[in-house]
């Protein structure tokens, strides 16, 4: 093996880590809003991601059946639909379930776990137990050969780009918009926020729905790198929670950094160890660090 080959393998392995980083970050962002900001343990977060993935699948099937000419263009629209579908279901879930449980975080955990079971079974009944994949437009296929022996898959780059756009959007909305201001005010002092005229219930509902919508976008990104089954989302739920906790629950930047760290650790150790041992090593590292530093990497400075 020449030096060049080793260099290329390292680059490609690093890029594989970036794809994982993208999915983890998109999952983590939604959860950082719901769990980090609102304190709701949403165990059904993975299922909202699956909603997004199935929306893409549906859109691709519909386009293929009724407007085959638009196959090249449907994908961006489908991503918006994925966001809206997950957003709508999130809104509904907040109204029906979550709003009754804000004062009992451990109980939201059980209730949303129940919700996730019901959603999984619904997916299974509607879409069947088999994994499905949407027909992707041609421009997402193939790879970009930079030099001889160095291939970067295009779908990976697309996911990465999407992640950057969404992350930027969320950070901007959180720190520059009126909504973000209301959310941050509600989080830091609910009673006070109420007193100065912020409708905290409305803010809660919108915030929860937006968090779910971002999970839907994560699902859309997920369809480009893997196939979707009824339980796809639940595979990522523990990782997503760890990303948020590890980054420091109330910090969005922490989520970005920890998603990157976790994805790269896993992807690089996968190169030296078997897949399962890489996972064990990564998780052990996170749990170990969390035991040493329970507040996570970036702790928000909050007076309690």
């Amino acid at each position: 093996m020449t030096f060049d080959e080793i260099f290329h393998i390292t680059l490609m392995q690093g890029f594989a880590g970036l794809s994982l980083f993208a999915v983890l970050l998109l999952m983590g962002l939604g959860l950082a809003i719901i769990f980090g900001q609102m304190g709701v343990i949403n165990m059904a977060h993975g299922e909202f991601m699956t909603i997004g993935a199935y929306t893409i699948f549906l859109m691709s099937a519909l386009t293929e059946a009724y407007a085959p000419g638009l196959m090249q263009a449907y994908f961006p629209l489908a991503i918006v639909c994925a966001f809206l579908a997950a957003f709508a279901f999130g809104w509904l879930a907040e109204w029906a379930l979550i709003r009754h449980l804000y004062k009992r975080p451990l109980d939201t955990l059980l209730a949303t776990w129940g919700l996730s079971l019901a959603m999984q079974q619904t997916f299974r009944s509607v879409f069947g137990p088999k994994e499905v994949s949407p027909t992707l437009p041609d421009w997402l296929m193939g790879s970009w050969e930079i030099t001889e022996g160095l291939d970067i898959p295009i779908n990976g780059m697309f996911v990465l780009g999407l992640t950057l756009v969404v992350t930027g959007g969320v950070l901007l909305a959180m720190y520059k918009s009126r909504w973000g201001l209301r959310v941050r005010a509600t989080v830091s002092n609910r009673t006070m926020a109420n007193a100065i005229g912020i409708d905290t219930r409305k803010t809660d509902r919108l915030t929860f729905a937006i968090g779910c919508g971002i999970a839907g976008v994560a699902g859309a990104a997920f369809t480009t790198i893997g196939s979707t089954g009824p339980t796809s989302g639940s595979l990522y739920i523990v990782d997503a929670f760890l990303v948020v906790t590890f980054g420091g629950a109330a910090s969005l930047w922490g989520t970005v950094v920890s998603a990157f760290g976790i994805a790269q650790t896993q992807s690089i150790s996968e190169f030296f160890l078997s897949g399962s041992m890489a996972k064990v090593l990564t998780l052990l590292l996170i749990v170990g660090i969390l035991m040493m530093r329970p507040q996570g990497l970036f702790a928000a400075k909050v007076r309690r």
Binding site: R104, A118, G275
Partner: protein, 405 residues
């Protein structure tokens, strides 16, 4: 006579007596061996559930990793049984006789060193309790000393459950992988697969379970139990009173772990195998629902919860497999939204006032308390609603503990 009556009501032992009669007399007489074996299997989850009552209901700490301890206990037992089943005589077709079959399939040529001690039953029995308790101590000490609790603790324990599952599945040669340890036959030459052995094991399980409930009840009635409750409600007050809050939590966590482990070992003995499917995230959360359905404050209720949910699971997943997950979902949601205190809470708020009214009316015979009565019998007033009763009781005990210190 009055002394017995007092003992039964004060300690809430009346409901325990009913449970004992049900498990020791009614079930063995009414059911065939297959069903009884199933009950025995469900009762091993009852150990986990009463552990969760102590940890979650009383200590206020929710662990989503009880499957880890159940699994470790079960695996420790299974390792001993597997070694006994793999004597050189019965494994002579393997390329290396005398080691468990899955090791041979994975090209291992000798027993790993950490398997060696499991050749002895006393060590295996010791490990059943010691290993999970030690792990619980390490996790609990690291977390509670840094005042990590609530949600974060739940997530970390869940991650531990994931780690152990991935580890067991990944290290096939040492653990049997995803199939687990199967084909367990004898315990010191005593065949655990015979009808007679199944009866014996059922009764051993029941006695251990009743003993565990007595132990937990004793802890609840002691000062320690009061402190646990006080901690759950106003942790800071207890800390300012001079108690080392974290060590009490560690104790509750270790107790719950040890109980789960005993359940796991009995599970292995009765079912004859152990696999990672009893360790992971999903079974661990299901174990929480056993305690929640029975009533998170009630030891006896938790056992009924484990029995009921598992019977439901067996029945529905056989007859209506599509419906089962929806039912389970409805169970999770309704237990949280409508009956936060489970069956026992329903008994407290509905059945008990009715019984009292009947007792008050003349010319009616007094009825024995219905199952699940255990909960908060000695504390909550029967007229208060199910939701309100634990809270009111807690605030009282908090005051007591902070004043007494």
């Amino acid at each position: 006579m009055d002394a017995i009556k007092h003992w039964l009501t004060r300690g809430g032992y009346g409901s325990l007596l009913i449970l004992a009669v049900l498990l020791l007399v009614v079930f063995p007489l009414a059911m065939d061996l297959f069903r009884l074996n199933l009950v025995g299997k469900y009762l091993t989850y009852g150990f986990v559930a009463i552990g969760l009552v102590m940890l979650w209901g009383y200590g206020g700490v929710l662990s989503l990793g009880q499957g880890v301890f159940f699994g470790l206990g079960g695996y420790a037992m299974a390792m001993f049984l597997k070694l006994e089943a793999s004597d050189p005589e019965s494994t002579k077709i393997q390329s290396t006789p005398g080691i468990p079959d899955f090791m041979d399939w994975n090209q291992l040529t000798e027993l790993p060193w950490w398997w060696e001690p499991f050749n002895s039953l006393p060590f295996a029995l010791f490990a059943v309790v010691a290993v999970p308790t030690l792990l619980a101590f390490i996790i609990g000490y690291a977390m509670f000393k840094r005042r990590v609790g609530g949600v974060y603790f739940a997530i970390i324990t869940q991650a531990v459950a994931l780690i152990l599952t991935v580890l067991i599945i990944g290290q096939q040669g040492y653990t049997g992988g995803v199939n687990g340890m199967t084909d367990l036959r004898t315990l010191l030459g005593w065949d655990i697969r015979t009808d007679e052995a199944k009866y014996t094991l059922y009764f051993v399980t029941v006695f251990l379970l009743l003993g565990s409930i007595m132990l937990c009840r004793w802890i609840q009635l002691s000062k320690l139990g009061t402190l646990l409750l006080a901690m759950r409600d106003k942790e800071d007050r207890v800390r300012f009173s001079g108690y080392d809050v974290s060590m009490f939590k560690v104790f509750a966590f270790c107790l719950a772990a040890a109980l789960s482990a005993i359940g796991g070992a009995m599970f292995t003995l009765q079912v004859g195998f152990m696999s990672p499917s009893f360790v992971g995230i999903v079974p661990s959360i299901e174990m929480v629902i056993f305690a929640a359905v029975g009533g998170r404050m009630s030891l006896v209720g938790a056992v009924y919860g484990a029995l009921l949910v598992n019977f439901g699971k067996t029945y529905f997943s056989e007859s209506f497999p599509d419906l089962w997950l929806f039912l389970m979902a409805a169970l999770f949601i309704s237990v949280v939204m409508a009956f936060p205190n489970g069956l026992a809470g329903l008994y407290e708020s509905h059945v008990k006032p009715w019984l009292t009214r009947r007792k008050a009316a003349p010319a009616t015979t007094p009825e024995p308390p219905a199952p699940g009565a255990e909960t908060t019998a000695n504390i909550a007033s029967p007229t208060s609603s199910g939701t309100a009763s634990p809270t009111s009781k807690i605030s009282i005990s908090t005051k007591v503990s902070s004043q007494s210190a």
